[in-house]
Symmetry: C2
Subunit: 331 residues, 2 copies
């Protein structure tokens, strides 16, 4: 039953969480290979009781494994995922390189697990902002249909890696100390500031991050009639993404019924007790594998609509946990 | 021409900005009286070259002035605004106490200056989040009509006063130092966190802050057919509110035309050059009297829609500046 696993991009923020998720979820790991750039080769990482040396990722030394979890950026995935797949392994790729490829399933295990079976060697892990949104919207889609989604995101910096986390922390200290800030990873100061710019801008005025939420949502739910408009904003938070989601349904759905079906959805936690100031927060979602939903209310601006606030840990359900869950589907 | 002015709540975060705005905008102040709670009485504040002693606000000592700028909370306004008005002065009130009173005009000078003339002694200053939104939406309303608005806010802590600013700063230091946080002003940790809860919750699941954006928008634009759904979120930013606004118009409006009419609107700055990472930020709006609009794009999720990102300084255009602009209408 046990599998030989590779983690490609093992020293990154998501890679580290992939290793943790394999351990925490007791994935049956027979052998583990940790790969990263040449720069990180030789570093030692813990896996359970064992110290494992990180190997350099090289075209001429693709390891023999059953499943490879990739989180090393789009360019690396584009080049290396087919090389791994050709050796007979299944690649679960966290980059955006393969997500919209018609031959590559794009999977959230609670939403479209059946798609994972159709893989041809590569399965794509969706964008963090998309995963938590479709996770929460799937039961609503099944119950009432979805016509249109308007979403605004409150995305933490950790999606941009370790250097982004360090930039937020050091900039924050600088601002508190009255020092000037020098943006490097982000286009502007992120400390005590929100930046409505994640990923490159496209011709239509949306960013790539925003269009991922449009295209991936349709692919995962398997319904091209759903329309989506997204505004993706980086906020000065270390971990966890928040989303203000307005959804127009085909049939009327009450907030009470939405709470009921959400509470019955695997790995969804409904936190929705305003009287006790209970709703999802980035601080409460941090280090948790689940997706949190609250502020569920009937939209007063249209006949069939719901508003909700969805939060999840972007490094876990938004990345590492979802990838390991896909691996679990392959067992 | 010069007016006798009172600032009620002169020692608060907004009160301080009202005093600055009177000076900066060269309002013809003949005499100025600064009032606050008994606790602050005796404190000295600068007004141009003069040091002025803060007086305690007392029912039996309503000062003889022409215009009173109130920013002392709803309860104080409810009680004292009529007492000031009865003495013949015009109260411009920044609290929510009078905003929806049919006898009280609710005014954004660039939007509905004509309403100011209908006052019966009290004019209400709208909620900060509403002001910047209707300021930017007015030209769009005039050009293409507005059917529905879906807005998510990114509101800084300064709207909640000095103590909120201090709480964000001290909590941020605590988190950076690995210390536990003790929320006091906010229901949860605000440092490195977003809280989807501003103002009390209402029966329909929305908060008071969110419903202000619904009700006030209709009153200011004078059109009850406009529907609005809002999600108001506090973000760890000191000053400036961001808003992701999705607006469905009655007629199709191109992004180019929207930019054109917005750029021609007084006190609106269009910052919309994605290729150069130019869009409004809270840091750039801070200490500026104007409203900034960017990320203007045609909504891909519906036939007649626009998305935009609106930012303004919540203490200035969102409060003090708008109040002083209303006073200017009275000259």
């Amino acid at each position: 039953m046990s599998k030989r696993i590779a983690v490609v991009g093992a020293t990154g923020a998501v890679g580290a969480e992939m290793i943790s998720a394999l351990i925490r979820r007791r994935f049956p790991v027979g052998e583990i290979r940790l790969l990263a750039s040449r720069r990180s080769a030789g570093r030692k990482l813990d896996f359970n009781e064992t110290r494992i040396a990180v190997e350099a990722l090289r075209e001429d030394a693709i390891p023999d494994v059953d499943i490879a979890l990739f989180s090393a950026g789009g360019a690396i995935s584009k080049k290396f995922a087919p090389l791994f797949a050709k050796k007979g392994c299944v690649v679960i790729d966290n980059s955006s390189a393969w997500r919209m490829d018609p031959d590559v399933p794009l999977v959230v295990p609670e939403v479209n697990p059946q798609d994972a079976r159709k893989h041809k060697g590569i399965i794509a892990n969706p964008n963090c902002s998309t995963i938590q949104m479709v996770h929460a919207l799937k039961p609503i889609y099944d119950e009432a249909g979805i016509r249109r989604i308007v979403v605004a995101t409150y995305q933490s910096v950790s999606g941009a890696g370790w250097s982004a986390i360090m930039e937020l922390e050091s900039q924050t200290r600088d601002v508190l100390d009255g020092m000037p800030t020098k943006p490097q990873k982000f286009p502007h100061q992120i400390a005590f500031n929100c930046i409505p710019h994640i990923g490159p801008f496209l011709e239509n005025g949306y960013t790539e991050e925003e269009m991922k939420m449009v295209d991936e949502t349709r692919k995962i739910l398997g319904d091209d009639t759903i329309t989506v408009s997204a505004t993706a904003v980086r906020v000065p938070v270390v971990r966890g993404h928040g989303e203000a989601v307005n959804v127009q349904t085909a049939k009327k759905l009450t907030a009470a019924r939405a709470r009921e079906i959400l509470a019955a959805t695997p790995n969804i936690v409904v936190l929705d007790d305003p009287a006790n100031a209970l709703y999802p927060l980035q601080t409460t979602a941090t280090d948790d594998d689940r997706t949190f939903v609250g502020r569920i209310r009937e939209d007063i601006s249209t006949e069939c609509g719901l508003d909700m606030w969805i939060v999840s840990d972007n490094l876990l359900k938004g990345a590492a946990t979802n990838a390991v869950q896909i691996a679990e589907l392959l067992l």
